[in-house]
Symmetry: C2
Subunit: 146 residues, 2 copies
DNA sequence: ATAAAACAGTTGCAATATGCAATTAATATT
DNA sequence: AATATTAATTGCATATTGCAACTGTTTTAT
């Protein structure tokens, strides 16, 4: 007999793998790498963000993000300005072009999740949604209280 | 009003991020890299596997896996033998030491998911489990039928 | 007020990961 | 028997990542 928590683990493992593939596919259409894509989306969501905040948000070293942002700037998708109120900070934003790329990525992901959602039996959708929320709460609780 | 599929997307996004952190922590205690850890677990689960099968299973190029396996061999966690029945193949297996590392990783992950499962309200656990299964079915269906 | 500490960001360095293409060796096909 | 296919390895190029050192800016402490 298999433990229920093991079943949970296995489901999540497989879902993660599938979603990883989606991520990979998304990459190829952007003309940017996956890391750059992730950074771009974070910047787009934030609107404007400093380097350390971006690094913290993404769980990566600031040096890594410094370079990734540099790449996005090179490609014309982002700009860096020094923060007038505190000149240690840079304010990272998307350019027009970066913003439309961001919107495109967001739309692509939304479309994907629309389709996924439709593939869940209609009578089960609300339950799945609630369950994902419960799942998120569980993993979040674990983080802070372990 | 936020679309339900967008809520789904956001939940999954955050869960993924949390689980990624777990993965990262798991890494540091192993003395091996995350990629090596993933490969080791795949080999451990398979018992014995060829390089191409491993690469296919993990969705990576066989050259990448060739090197990762080489690293695991170097560290004494895996062995490569040529398959007697078809000498083009190598049979990749874990050594004693690799196997106990594998078991340790599996145990760590199982313990983690046990705790997560306990953090889900008792009356909701069965529902969450069923929902994860439905979610997996949905993303799998999308893959094959899109 | 000035010296020291803390902080944000960048850059040099090293390790790892990854895919493609070419190569080698073994097996299957014609 | 010759050719094609397949499994694995290796050379090459690129990307990712973190740590540590360094610069410039702001905050804190004396």
């Amino acid at each position: 007999m298999i433990k229920e928590s093991s079943r949970l683990r296995e489901y999540i493992r497989r879902i993660q793998r599938r979603l990883g593939l989606v991520d990979e596919n998304g990459k190829s259409c952007c003309g940017i790498t996956l890391s750059q894509c992730h950074s771009l989306v974070e910047i787009g969501r934030a609107g404007a963000i400093s380097l350390v905040d971006l690094a913290t948000e993404m769980g990566l070293d600031k040096s890594t993000l410094s370079r990734t942002v540099e790449n996005l700037v090179q490609k014309g998708y982002a700009i860096r300005e020094t923060d007038a109120r505190n000149r240690r900070y840079v304010v990272i934003k998307l350019t027009e072009e970066g913003n439309s790329l961001f919107k495109g990525i967001e739309k692509g992901m939304d479309d994907y999740f629309d389709k996924i959602y439709q593939l869940i039996p209609e009578g089960k959708r609300a339950q799945v949604l609630e369950s994902m929320q419960l799942m998120l709460e569980a993993v979040t609780k674990f983080e802070c209280c372990q």
